[in-house]
Every structure is written in C-alpha cells, then in structure tokens.
Amino acid sequence: MGHPNKTKWIPGPVVSRVLRYGLALVSIAAALVLALTLLHFHLPQTFVAFALSAIAITFWYGGAKPGILAAMLASVVRIYFFDPEISGLSRGVYYLVFLIFALLMMRATRARNELEQRVAERTADLTRANEDLKFEIAQRNRTEAELRKSEAYLAEAQRLTHTASFALNIASRKIIHWSQEHFRLFGFDPEGGVPSLEAVLQRIHPDDMERVHEIYETATREKTGYEMEYRIIIPNGTTKHIHMLAHPVFRASRDLVEYVGTLVDVTERKRADEERERLRQVQADLARIARVTTMGELTASLAHEIKQPIAAAVTDANTCLRWLTRDHPDVEEAREAASRMVKDTTRASDIISRIRLMFNKEASQRELLDINSVIQEMVGLVRNEANRSSISIRTQLAADMPRIMSDRVQLQQVFMNLMLNAIEAMKDMNGGGELTIQSQPAEDGHLMVSVSDNGLGLPPQQADQIFNAFFTTKLHGTGLGLSISRSIIESHGGRLWAADNSPRGASFHLTLPTNTEAPE
C-alpha cells in the first residue's frame, strides 16, 4: 500500500496531493457538520454512517493514504465530539471497524485502478488499431489511384499502338477480358458491354474464317499458344488486318483454362509490305531485264568483234592451203597468207584481253560489306521467282560475320546467278523445292557461302564443265553465268565450286577472304 496509485484523471502530483489530502479533511469535516446538524435537530446520531461515507469517498477519489488519513480523522473526531467517555473495548471495536472498512476500501480502490489501467490500455490498443486501419485505407486509396493511372496509360498505349488485349475462357467460350482498344478495333460499342465470342467471330473475313478455326482448334487440342494473321470486316465496311497472339493459361492439373493475348491492327504495315513487295517485284523484273539485256548485248558485240578476225583467219588459212596444194606450190604466197593468219589470231586474242581488262577495271569499286546483307537483298529479289514455282527459301546466316572488301554489284550478280540457277533446277518439281543459303566463317581468314537446292543436280559426266564459258544445259542459257561468277569470285581472291547433294540437288560453295585489304 506504499506505492502510489497514479490515475490518469488526477492532474499534477503536487496539486493532486493537496487536493487528495484536502479531500480527507473536507469529507470528514462535512460528515461532522452533517452529524452535528442532525444532532441539533434531535435526529438519531449518524456520524459513523457519514464518516464511513466520507472515508469511502476519500478512498475512491483521493487514494489510499488520504483514505487512511480520513479514517484516522474520523476516529479522532468521533471520540472527541460524540463519545468521549467510551470504554477501551468499544473504542477498539470502532477502530477495528474503521480499519476493516479502510482495508476493504483500499482493495476496492486498487481493483478500480487496475480496471482503469486495463481500460486505458485497451483504449490505447484500439486507438492504435484505428490509426493502422486509417493508414491502410489511405495506402489502398493511393494504390488504387496509381492503378487507375497505370490503367489509363495502358489504355493510351493500346490506343497508340492499335493493340488490344483479351482473355478467353475456353470451356465456356466466353470472353472474360476485352480491352477498350478492342472495342475500337472491332467496331463494337463499349456501351454494349463485352461482346459474345460469336459476335466477334462474325467480323472475321469469310475467306479467313476456316483458317482461323483450324488454327484455334489445333492449338486447343495440342494445348499450345498460337499466332496468326487474319482480316476482319467492321460494320462500316472497312477491312482490317489483325495480327493475333495468344498464350495458354493452365490450371495446376495441366488443363488448358484460358487464352490471354493481344491483337494488333497491322493494316498499315500490311499495306507497306504490299507496297514493298510490289517494289521488289519491279526491282526483280528490272534486274532480270538488265541481266538479260547486258548478257544479250555483251554476247552480240563479243560475237561481232571476235568473228571478224576469226573469219579472216579461216579465209587466210584456206588461202594458204590453196597456195600449198597447187601443182606448183607457191611457198612465198603461202607464207604471206600464214603471216596474215598470225595477225588475225593475234587480233582475236587482243579483243579477248581487252574485254577481260574492261571487266577487271569495273571490278575496282570495292567497299567494306556485310555479306549477310548482300545475301538478304538478293533473297528478297528472287523470292517472287521462287514463290512462282512454290520453292521455299531458307537462310542460315551466321551472326557476326566479318566484313569483307568487295564489289557489291558483282557479288549481287554472283548470288543472283546462283540462286536463279537453283530455282531453275527445281522449277519442274511441282513444289517441295527448297533453296538454302548458308553463310559461315571458314578456315584461314575466309568466309564461306553455300547455295544449295534439291533440284536436278549437276549434269552427269559434265560436272567439271559447268564453269566453262558457253557451256549450258538450258534451252535459252548463255552459258556465261557460272563462268562469270567464278571469275568474279576469283578476282576477289576466293574460290567457287560445285558439288552434288545427296539424295538430290546441287550445292555451290564460294569462299571469300575476310582481310580488309583488296586482294589484287
């Protein structure tokens, strides 16, 4: 009972002590006054009841020590004012009553204090919980605002890129997510809510419908994602090209549950592709015309130039024979004819040298090139030609190929020639033709490019002749393509050769040095 019971409702320690002990004095004084007042009106003597009340009030509001003080004061006051002549035993009984009452009150006070403490603690806990809750709510509001913002950004991004997103439940065939952009893309009114799958499918171009169904059915059967392009017709009659990408979502049991994916409006890109394709076609046609014309002109002028001295040589040779086979051979005339013949053939050989020289001079336009890009360009040019004969083109180009010092136009000519030859060799296969172009680093600072087909293969017994000028197995061939290709590659310091493929077809391999200096 020594330690003070500090309760919250008592203000400062000094003020509180004065008030609390004051309460003891005042309450006992009040009990005395009340008892005396009652006595004055000859009412029964009630001091003890008032004193006990005063002690109880003091204990309750003033605490234990002021309560004890009140009890002691009450004893003194009672003896002094009301019962001065009481016996020692009676006094002892009174003291005992006051003492027991004081003890009971102390217990009651302590219990009350403990209760108050607990209430205060509970209140503090509740206050804290309340604050936590408020904080959490604020945080959730913030998160929600951020989520709304990011959703708005996403919608804007979808609008800008013409990309829509969707989620489809497979079992119920219900669209469970359908982004804002999706409404725009397919021309649905957002007010009407997420449309049904059937309504969406009705917008697909009739020509693409079967294919779309097939791809979807296969994907669901094999539990894979899928990717496809198709056209849709929206109510205002516009046709759009859609690129669709769908990823499968599985349940833990490996069951396919949903498809989530994107749809992109690729109409613009498609149009650009078509433009580019048309341009490519024109380019390819031009390249073919240029090739044919150059070849034609070259052969014509070559033929004319060379035929002259050869015709003269033949005539001179015949003349020479005539002088020698006469009854009386004229050696002098024959010698003259023979020396003219020497002049003729020298002229013919000069012409050939001049052509070679001209050819080499043109080869001097060398630059650092990425061989893969040259191959890609030429693949682009021959693609149409290949498509026409249902030939597929496969490229296996090694990454990080060293750049080479070479003449772009000449290399283009070589690749064009090899690819067109390959395509021609597969033309009559009625599909299944495959043209493969492969690039890879080779030994000794060289790189290797291979052009392979699965067509007719090299002409049997004449495989070694194909690089000879004017050797051809084609109806309208000049027999110059491979011969020129080989001289181009050799003038670049490389090699060009051919090999049969097993089980069918032919491969043309070429190597080129990768050191940056032009080999001369």
């Binding site: 015709a311 040589a313 001179d316 015949n318 003349t319």
Partner: protein, 125 residues
C-alpha cells in the same frame, strides 16, 4: 573463161583491214584480180563501180552500210552482182539484200568454196 574487152574486176568493200587482205589474198590465190576499199564512200568515189563485175561487201560499216551501198548503186543504174558477208545478219536482213539483187548473203566465218563459186558465177553472168 574468155576474157573479153571489159575487165572483170572484183571489188571488196569492208572496214576491217584483216578481212580485206584475207579476201584479196583468197582471190589472188585463185587468179582473180581484186581491188579492196575500206568504205562504201571510197568505192563510190573511186569510180571503179562501173568496171566492177562482182562486189563483195560487208553489211555493218561505219558510214554507209553495205545495204545502203547496194541501194545507191541500184539507184545509179549500176547493177553489180553483190555478195554480202556479215558477222551478224538475220533472216530479215538477208531477205532485204536478196530482194535488192544480191547474189548471196554469207555469214562470217564463211566457206571459201561457196564464196568463190558465187564470185565465178557473178563474173560469168
């Protein structure tokens, strides 16, 4: 082959010097006198066209072509049996030449026997 008053001259018109000497050499070997000209213009200027019994001409030449020379001679009423020799002649060109009175139209390199037969035939006509 009696040689009458008129000289039976064979004229060669070709811009290619080797071809000219080869033809001249051939004719000499068979004992036929021949004169060579480097162009159609030279031949016309020489005035020899009136003495010429047979003309061997190239078709493609700088300046006047062989066919133009033939047309010019025809226009001048100087019809000379002409044998064309060309490095690249097509069927159309051949028809045009033959219609205009050419005796023969030969591609280079040519058969010397055939040429000589034609020359002889021209000289005898």
């Amino acid at each position: 082959m009696a040689t009458q008053g008129k000289t039976k001259l064979v004229a060669i018109v070709d811009d290619d010097d080797l071809m000219r000497s080869a033809l001249q050499g051939l004719l000499k070997a068979v004992g036929l006198p021949a004169q060579a000209f480097a162009s159609a213009e030279d031949f016309l200027k020489s005035g020899q066209q009136h003495e010429t019994a047979c003309l061997i001409a190239d078709i493609r030449m700088p300046g006047m072509s062989g066919l133009e020379l033939q047309a010019k001679l025809n226009a001048d009423h100087c019809r000379i049996p002409t044998i064309f020799i060309t490095a690249h002649g097509d069927a159309k060109m051949r028809m045009q030449a033959l219609r205009a009175g050419a005796v023969e139209f030969m591609a280079k390199p040519f058969d010397d026997e055939v040429l000589l037969e034609n020359v002889r035939a021209a000289l005898e006509s």
